[in-house]
Symmetry: none
Subunit: 244 residues, 2 copies
């Protein structure tokens, strides 16, 4: 039996106190995912409040995805959301760790490019500056998943070149050097595997690959990275969560 009750004297609205009580029950597993919670009538009776108050509390939990209502059937506790890390700016390594795969990298090529290179414009590189290119094959549990070609302003890229480029999560390194990532825009398309792609990834030539071009900005909205990553489509799917 539940002991916690509502307190009319608090400045917190009753429906919000109820919301917290319900939230606790879900968190603590008193209300088990997949099960029907008590009916509105029962909650009204038990907590001695009006239907409006019960419904407001429940609606808050429906909106945040903890409960699901079904007319005629009842109100159910949702299974905990599996992901919700979606739409977050992460690097390959972080993403694979989330999926409980072991990320690694095989270095293909490093270069320093002059400021007249096509990507200089995206990176807003000044004419005296130059660009660091790092091309790697990315693996998960030892299996090649993607080819990642990243371009960095020299001031940023220098931090990376001091590290072991085969074992490194670039974004974590940069954050350790005080580079604060803010956001990124990506363009996603489908491309055919070139001869080199097919060699590096072990796929057939012309096989469809998922290509992602990303421009990443720091907290001052200065570009710090342009990257083109081509994924083996049968090994990697891109997830997006959209709201109306």
């Amino acid at each position: 039996m539940e002991t916690r009750k509502l307190d009319d004297s608090l400045p917190i609205p009753l429906y919000h106190q109820l919301y917290e009580i319900f939230f606790d029950k879900i968190e603590k597993g008193v209300w088990v995912p997949g099960c029907i919670i008590p009916t509105e009538s029962e909650l009204i009776e038990y907590y001695q409040v009006s239907r409006t108050t019960v419904r407001e509390a429940i609606n808050l939990l429906v909106q945040s995805g903890y409960l699901e209502k079904k007319q005629g059937r009842g109100t159910m506790v949702c299974k905990p959301r599996l992901v919700e890390n979606l739409n977050k700016l992460t690097g390959f390594a972080e993403e694979m760790e989330r999926k409980e795969l072991v990320p690694s990298a095989k270095l293909v090529h490093v270069d320093e490019l002059p400021a007249n290179h096509p990507v200089a414009e995206k990176l807003k590189i000044s004419l005296e500056d130059s660009i660091i290119l790092i091309k790697r094959v990315r693996l998960a549990d030892g299996e090649p998943i993607a080819i990642e070609t990243s371009y960095w302003p020299k001031s940023i890229g220098e931090h990376l070149l001091k590290e072991d480029l085969e074992s490194v999560a670039f974004y974590k390194i940069l954050e350790q050097h005080g580079v604060q990532l803010l956001e990124a825009d990506e363009e996603i398309s489908a491309v055919a595997a070139t001869k080199e792609d097919s060699f590096l990834l072990g796929v057939k030539e012309q096989e469809p690959l998922l290509q992602m071009e990303r421009l990443t900005l720091d907290n001052n909205r200065n570009p710090i990275e342009f990257a083109r990553t081509k994924y083996r489509s049968n090994r990697y799917t891109y997830h997006v969560h959209l709201k109306r």
Copy 2:
């Protein structure tokens, strides 16, 4: 003066009819961004409904970011969000209109499938129910861009079948019938064009296409659509905005 009124005989809830009226006023600029809309009392008086009904309608618009309430002051129309069209759940037609292209559709196939079809599980279809399949080629400025195969629970799909399937934005139709879209999850991958794809889109066989599989949920988190859309990758790029 406004002429449009509520119709008690419709199967659409009053608060939803009110929501549509208010939505129109915002869309058409009758209620100007930054201005305070009529008070709850005035709306109650004018539309002859209860406060609950007015508040439910307004809350829908607050939730979708069109209105902003302030206790003691009133309810204000929000300034239109500049961008943030990214990561928003829109249909093909809405998306093309935003890009100032003229969207259209060519119907390929319509069908009713039994509840033992593989997508029934995604749509949480009960065994007595069935599934409406609508397959269309989507065009922008008359040029084929994508093949869209959508699956709907019969109760939802029926609304669509009454419409001209070649000229229609499905999501808008559904919203007119009181179906509130909430969110969607998408999986994006690259696939090779099949023989049929190549015929419908006018591309070579095996050419890489960008494939998007979307499961759309309504406000009660019930699935209302599963859709698989294959885009010509040279004509369409998917944009994503990520935050750290």
